[in-house]
Amino acid sequence: MEFVSPEGLRLDGRRPTEMRQLRAEIGNVAKADGSAVFEMGNTKVIAAVYGPREVQNKSQQMSDQALVRCEYSMANFSTGDRMRKPKGDRRSTEISLVIRQTMEACILTHLMPRSQIDIFVQVLQADGGTRSACINAATLALQDAGIPMRDIVTSCSAGYLNSTPLLDLNYVEDSAGGPDVTVDKVIYVDFALNGRVKASVLWDLWLYFGSYGLKET
């Protein structure tokens, strides 16, 4: 199947280095201390942050820093076919871990010892790039909650199809079977916190493309 036409346009009319339209809102969840809705094209994600608050499980309490917990789930109606198990499956557990590690590296946890920060991210519409949208939404929600952070974390995905590196894949391009990478970066400090890569080929090229997309984010 042709993902990039001979004129250089992708299936949705974008150029290879063009990102989808970004939209963000904060303060949507009234009960949460901080919340944000982030849209990347058709992918829509809502994040809610609670904390810092008392640790619920005293055995996990850390005396010198805050405990960061993250839960990623997809709504049943978020994908084309209704999902049977929104959370608890392997993919969700892996993505929860990835988001937790990324945000923990950025939050100044030593300022809030013996407390807990909960990040809940739910995908409302999935069209590729849900992992990136979740990290972007979680960053905004943490800022809305006033939790001290070193820097803003941004995330973007990139892939390689029809011999062309592509930025910000949607669902069709993501499931095409080519390699793809998601890069999370911190804006000014300039190091990659987390990178997931399905094939090891052309790592440098993707890192470059992923970073290019992050500057736009």
Binding site: P113, R114, A145, I147, P148, M149, I152
Partner: protein
């Protein structure tokens, strides 16, 4: 990859975590005081909380931010809700990371014989005495000299929750426009806690007062006056 962006003057502008506010390598022989929301990293001062950067002469910088969660600071006056009574302390919820303790003797003329009895759920106006990170904060119902001032139980009224930024605006002087406008036509009493809780008391217009205050957070002075006028016309 790219050079650090130049530290344009960000005072009174909205800043986000990671913004570099000051470049210390170009400022020598100066003492600068950093308040909340700023952190020093080697040669630069960067922001850790999103908000508006403020500067007060001669040398104080801080970030003013408004959140729902309160971070306890010493000498803040807050509104707390009693959640439990133990032998030595009352456990009071002040919307912070941990429950605060109010010693049973921290009242004017408090002795073991006349310990006050608060029901669970009572609203108290208290002062924060100790607020160390990682420890439960400690409260007191007296001012620094031991007098009761106006601390203690708030019996009547309607309590609602706002953000910390709005409580600071209500307590600012000169009086904030929404309170001034309401005061011209109505009589009411409010107790404002820096933790985002406000208790409003009024003989018949409590709901109007509380709605006016809750709506006024993101409005400018002129917009606040217009909003209050519109609400007041409803009761005429």
């Amino acid at each position: 990859m790219e050079a650090k962006p130049s530290t344009a003057n960000l005072v009174d502008k909205i800043v986000v975590p990671g913004d570099v506010v000051l470049d210390l390598s170009s400022m020598t022989n100066q003492t600068i005081k950093l308040g909340g929301g700023l952190r020093q990293e080697c040669d630069s001062v960067s922001v850790i909380k999103a908000g508006k950067l403020r500067f007060s002469k001669p040398n104080k910088y801080w970030v003013e931010s408004s959140q729902k969660r309160y971070v306890p600071c010493v000498e803040d006056t807050v509104l707390g809700i009693v959640v439990d009574c133990k032998a030595d302390n009352f456990f009071v919820d002040i919307r912070g990371p941990t429950i605060a303790f109010l010693p049973v003797l921290a009242f004017e003329g408090g002795t073991r014989r006349n310990i006050p009895k608060f029901e669970i759920g009572s609203l108290l106006y208290v002062r924060v005495v100790k607020a160390n990170p990682g420890m439960n904060p400690e409260l007191s119902c007296t001012d620094a000299s031991g007098k009761a001032a106006e601390f203690g139980l708030l019996k009547d009224g309607y309590m609602f929750e706002t953000s910390t930024g709005l409580s600071r605006m209500l307590l600012s002087s000169p009086t904030c426009p929404v309170l001034e406008e309401l005061g011209k036509q109505l009589s009411f009493e409010i107790a404002v806690g820096l933790n985002g809780r406000v208790n409003a008391e009024s003989p018949s217009t409590v709901v109007l007062v509380s709605n006016a205050i809750m709506n006024s957070e993101s409005l400018s002075a002129v917009q606040q006056k217009i909003m209050v006028d519109k609400l007041l016309q409803r009761i005429k």
